[in-house]
Subunit: 482 residues, 4 copies
């Protein structure tokens, strides 16, 4: 059993990506540390990876499509000398020209080399790009991140740091960034801190990562989270300085990192991700009990909540679905005879546990609903007497524009149906979601008390905490902060 691999379908029209970023400055093993750190962040993006290093005189880069362990062997890492390196894992890059979009991006500016790795999404990138191109900027990628580079290149401020802050003041949306210049490393988080970013230490070196698990794996010590709106600079002597160019807006970190996106062994803003998920399962058991014989997780992402549900309800936890490790991307149907062969390649019913039983199925979320339907049917084919689906998040009714890859709203099941209709669609005997209040309880906060820390929960509530300039027409009907 195995929890780190997000449950993703193969689909094409991804515009927004989940990503992971990592940086290290001050170690002779910089590129190797970056590769190991990115490897532990692989669940945040499996399609492409890149590392850029700085050897004191020159920047070096290697990028490729695939997993960290496919793109990087010691041979490639040996082409990345120096004591500073940063890297990026990325979800979706399709097409022959995809390599152009693989980060870190790099440019030789008049002020020197500038490298950038970005987790998040800039919600006015298209608008900014149109303006830049009209003045002569030439874009090479289709990535929103590239606008930051051109804003830096064309800024009138004298120093590279000033130009960078000048550029950030023009962008809106979510960004956790790790940048490199000849002088050192800059890590910063958008004013609301939508995407995570943490700082640690290994020996004399400073490290930054999207999640704490990266520090565990490389043997680094966790120091603290980068604050929302904070910009941290580290030079080659190890001097660290903190800046707050955006004042002190109230933070709104992404709650979906707790529900699904982060690794369960990470600690996010002081909370154990595994612990939160188990607690969500407990809240769910209280809010939505069901008479059943066994609690069965949809592996792997449903497992912690299922353990919590089982402990709270007293119903035994059992592996009623077995997941295969060996799922290839371009696999083939065995022919007409096999029903739901694609889902069976990944998940197979453990008939000995399922047959004749009333089961509670626990999953993290429902997006389009097609996978849930297949899983429920697989349970029935294996002889389940009743199937009660329980979901460890509120209904996903809204798209994310801050870097979590969700389909457009019209394809979200919860945007189109009420809960009973959803239950019918997935053919479950009953269906329930944890409430948004229950979710806040599980993380130890209170959605209704705005004096307490709040999250970005736009995917559940539609309350977007920033302007969405590029999407203004499409989403004029939705509530947002503008």
């Amino acid at each position: 059993m195995n929890m780190t691999h997000p449950f993703r379908d193969a689909d094409g029209d991804k515009l927004r990506e989940e990503c992971g970023v990592f940086g290290v400055i001050g170690s002779k093993d910089a590129a190797n540390i970056a590769a190991a750190g990115l490897h532990s962040l692989q669940h945040r993006g499996q399609e492409a990876v890149g590392i850029t290093s700085f050897s004191g005189e020159e920047f070096h880069s290697h990028r490729g499509l695939g997993h960290v362990a496919q793109v990087f062997s010691q041979r490639e890492l040996d082409t990345l000398p120096g004591t500073m390196a940063s890297g990026h894992v990325r979800y979706a890059t399709t097409g022959g020209s995809g390599l152009r979009n693989v980060q870190p991006l790099f440019a030789d500016l008049a002020a020197g080399g500038f490298s950038i790795a970005h987790n998040g999404n800039i919600s006015n990138a298209m608008t900014l790009k149109r303006d830049l191109v009209s003045k002569g900027s030439i874009f090479q990628s289709t990535s929103d991140t590239e606008v930051i580079i051109h804003l830096v290149a064309t800024s009138r401020y004298p120093t590279l740091l000033d130009r960078f802050v000048d550029a950030l003041r023009m962008v809106e949306g979510a960004y956790s960034l790790i940048c490199m210049t000849a002088e050192g490393m800059i890590a910063c988080r958008d004013p609301l801190g939508i995407r995570p970013l943490v700082m640690g230490r290994i020996g004399d070196a400073t490290v930054f990562a999207s999640e704490t698990v990266a520090f565990d794996v490389i043997g680094a010590e966790f120091i603290r989270s980068i604050e929302p709106g904070e910009l941290v600079q580290v030079d080659h002597k190890g001097t660290i300085s903190s800046h707050r160019p955006f004042g002190n807006p109230a933070p709104r970190p992404c709650i979906f990192e707790h529900v699904y996106f982060s690794r369960p062994d990470s600690v996010m803003d002081g909370r154990s991700v595994y612990g939160v998920r188990k607690q969500i399962g407990m809240e769910l058991a209280k809010e939505a009990p069901a008479p059943a014989d066994v609690v069965i997780p949809v592996p792997d992402s449903g497992v912690p909540a299922a353990i919590g549900y089982a402990q709270q309800s007293g119903i035994p936890f059992e592996l009623g679905i077995i997941r295969s490790h060996y799922v290839g991307r371009t696999f083939i149907q065995p022919g007409d005879a096999a029903r739901h062969a694609d889902v069976k390649r990944k998940h197979n019913a453990n008939r000995a546990i399922v047959e004749g039983k009333r089961i509670i199925l626990i999953d993290d979320s429902i997006v389009r609903g097609t996978t849930s339907l297949k899983i429920v049917e697989m349970m029935r084919d294996a002889g389940a007497a009743e199937v009660h689906m329980r979901i460890a998040s509120p209904p996903t009714e809204h798209s994310c524009f801050y870097g979590v890859d969700t389909p457009e709203r019209s394809k979200l099941l919860a945007a189109n149906m009420d809960i009973q209709a959803m239950a019918d669609f997935i053919k479950a005997d009953s269906l329930a979601f944890v409430s948004i209040d229950g979710l806040y309880r599980a993380v130890g906060e209170d959605k209704r008390n705005k004096k307490r820390p709040q999250f970005c929960d736009a995917c559940f509530s539609g309350e977007y905490p920033t302007k969405l300039t590029d999407f203004a027409e499409r989403f004029s009907g939705e509530r947002n902060a503008a």
Copy 2:
């Protein structure tokens, strides 16, 4: 078959492999069904895969190093036409010339084309090969399986079936075979039935596989196990005939299939593998209780026994170790600072669960002991107060010569130490193994009552059920049936 490259493999002494076999006859989707079936058997061998098909006139073959999904896309499968196909997944093939050993093996005999896929190991292969070579046979692989082909080729019997039986009478050891000739498919299992083999049906087609999970995945119906010593022939009209060329010796199926090797969602000789493993955990809880706060499995193979242990003992089951899916084969150390980085790439402590707790760790077996040591140390680094290791099999004191890849005896921790010394070696506060009697109880049998069904448990007991001609000197001190 290929005679031009019989140079020794880099790892020439790796003669024993774990493998999976699959066959289908009577379907227009034969190659696709074989690929899907092999995909579900991937856990039995991840290093190489091959499929051979028969299109009515010719045999076609594609083999490669890697996973099923890496070696086969629809493009390769389209080169394998016909209504009959068989395939093989294999554990270890290293070196540039490794492809020679990838099965199915094939030869053009005077009686026509002959293809063979083999799970198991022939324990007099070297002896037979010496004799064949002295008479002019030219071997192309270093696989033990190739002796069967040469025995068939040089047999004096008239029909291909008679030649095949003549060949099998000369070999000793473990073999589940799926062969193809122009006339149809032959599936057979050695006289003791050491390795598994099952038969099913999908539409009008007959299928054979190492495990029932392959039938689930392709949507086939399980019919029955092939009996130990049984040879089943299926022709292109679908006529099935059963032969018993070896009489009716008492079966001795491998008990390690239940402990570790098979998928938990398979049913092996009528027993749910998941159910047996959970029961082993329950026996272990009775035999070797420990005062603790949590039961933590070493994922993934320790999970079912841990669930059983937790249910029996009442101690909560928790995911104290998180496993990454993204472990590449040639990965790199992040540098000197990181302790046990290699094991951390695969397993990471979930500190929130472990810290300050007395934990019971459940794993399936201990081979060399080095991994157990690293896991225990990882638990202590994460703050575990006490670590009690519990193993869901008896001590592995003896090598397997029947197709499970185990190191030579001198490298087996249990062959060299008593249990207290082992506990000290892995730095656990306590260590216990399930007893062999407890293991038999978990599968519902009785080791001491020889009238009841017995297993091959040589890896635990040293009681080898066949001659070991090739290994006679090395193992003269061990008990075997000869």
Copy 3:
């Protein structure tokens, strides 16, 4: 265009390349015609090739390292739809990031897509680039050609054609360009016409190429040369318009195209290249006779001049050196015993012709002298009684800054030695070069009569016909037009 990898090439100071360009507009087979045309121009650049097509809505591109036939099969060509295509072959691109420099370059400008393929070299590229970068332009390649794109992007003129002319007015040096916009194709040649460019017709389509041989191979009709300083536009209806934005300076086409660079079956500005080379050999026979038994060409480039020398002198032409076609780039020495094995892999003495003979060796030029030395030694090892080297061009004393790849001046043998010293260096019994007057006679012109057409002969004379802004310090001692 690609901004993310502008790290320096391993051979960053290789700024000058020989290249070939080709364009076609108005044919449904545009990409295939481009590939065939580039194939015939392969001698102008063997290291990299690219083709860009326009399908009415989008630009498509495929570029790679290697020969045309290695980079393009029908599969790649099928990804390049449309009735307009242009391509480029290029001499030297080394290192992993080399692909960035492979042309055609492309950018999405505010005014639309813009593609450019360039033969020649811009001698103020570095100076222009510094200025552009200071204003915020981000370069992705190390190619001089990219400055043209940025000049177009940042020009204040309204139309793309005006912007393009505006850009060209800022550049100095040699350029034959084939550009594409959504409106059609633009072919133009620098004011002095240093590099060649010809126009032809195949069916209803218009074609452009560096040499006429490309028209022979695709079955096109030669129309005329593009004039020095002329800019020809062709739209999708086939309308052709000619512009002269630079006035009418006196042309100075490169004479080295006749000596070495063009294919012998091309016709360059009305002169057969083969005929000119044969005539150079005749002039050489008159200027530098030698008492000898045979005339032997250094294959392949010395053959036409050797035929001319033999016909003029009456001494028999014989193949005393045999050239192998199969020279790989990374080949291996057979060991210490073999002398000059590298040159022998390419050239081998035909001992039966050489032994005991007084030979006249004809080669096209001497650059560093090391190859000439090896060839002479090879002749002596094969038993030559006397070796008289005759060179079908004047001594190469100066570097080219206009797109022919020559080493820096300090490595040119003729820049460092007089002719007798050169003869001693290459161990020839005698050495002679054709005079620059003889060379002009061979092409039918007169170097001393400036009213007659003149050439760029800077590599022989040091008389550079343009400013050399980027190289001003290095070459302040040399004569140039500035």
Copy 4:
């Protein structure tokens, strides 16, 4: 100009191959020397190459599809240690399983490792194979060479040398072989010496090769030809012994090696190949003069005969056809508009020489006639006034069964038409072939005086010097020695 690349069309149904073999024993650089030697024999086979070495204990092998320089870099050569190595270049290997047929072939026999590289063709291979398979031998390739290995493996003689001679006594046809055993190297030539084989020395090492050019390139000294029917053994101490197991039949070496197949800088049985070809051109000028302005070779193979023809006739030799070096295998038609684009990719008319002229075209042979037709049409398209084709060999009326790749008889133009009909087919104004007597005169022998040395000239005369067991039915109408 460039003579070593045979003029070959791309066609599929090749059953017989031209090949080159090379061996070296006694040098620490054995594999490197073999690679360099094979590189110089590349014209004898361009599709596949292999090298096997012996390191004192083990045989090592690397084989691949492609040219020597594509298959072998220093990295591959470093995997081939030892002081003895042999290799093979091969013409045609098609299909995915082609690698099986790439030589040297190797087998582990009871008497030890045995490697074989073969130039020629065994004309009773099919018959022998049927018998071997019926007794249990398993073939892995479709190569005729493999029968020799099985004959050695199943021979009843005690020593490996005796078994080898026993095997050779059973085979008929043409073979020059280089074999390796743990004891040393064996080189031998069939009783009639149909294919060439020469011996040389480099330092203390002994070398064998198909042609002397291989010795030039590696810096070795030519010692002598292996005699027809001779078997030479060299052990690791350098001791050389010669055996004549077949008595002393009258030799019949292949005359086509002189006409076309060998490199012009090789010396074959004491005769300069270039000199013979030039002499054939002179004989042709005497036998078949034509009133013309220029003599034009079809490059490269027609060049020496064209030089001879020009010198004898006094008509000027000119390069009226230019050949491209860059012909790829899978190239693409530029579209319907281009006539004969495939031949133009390789050969292009030099219009300046051809236009308005009466030309004599010299080629080495006519096989199917389709290429000759295209060349003649290309000359006419370029404005030739008259085209007189002269061929430097007699009409090719019969297939070769001894290792030269010729199509079956029905596809040979000369087997189906008289000379006037052939001239009409290729659209030449006149056509003439050198007579077989003229050909013998050119090599200094006399076809009509059987006391003088004779050649295998079966492709011209139909007089096959051996039995053709496998082809008995097909060729019962042709004269042969049986």
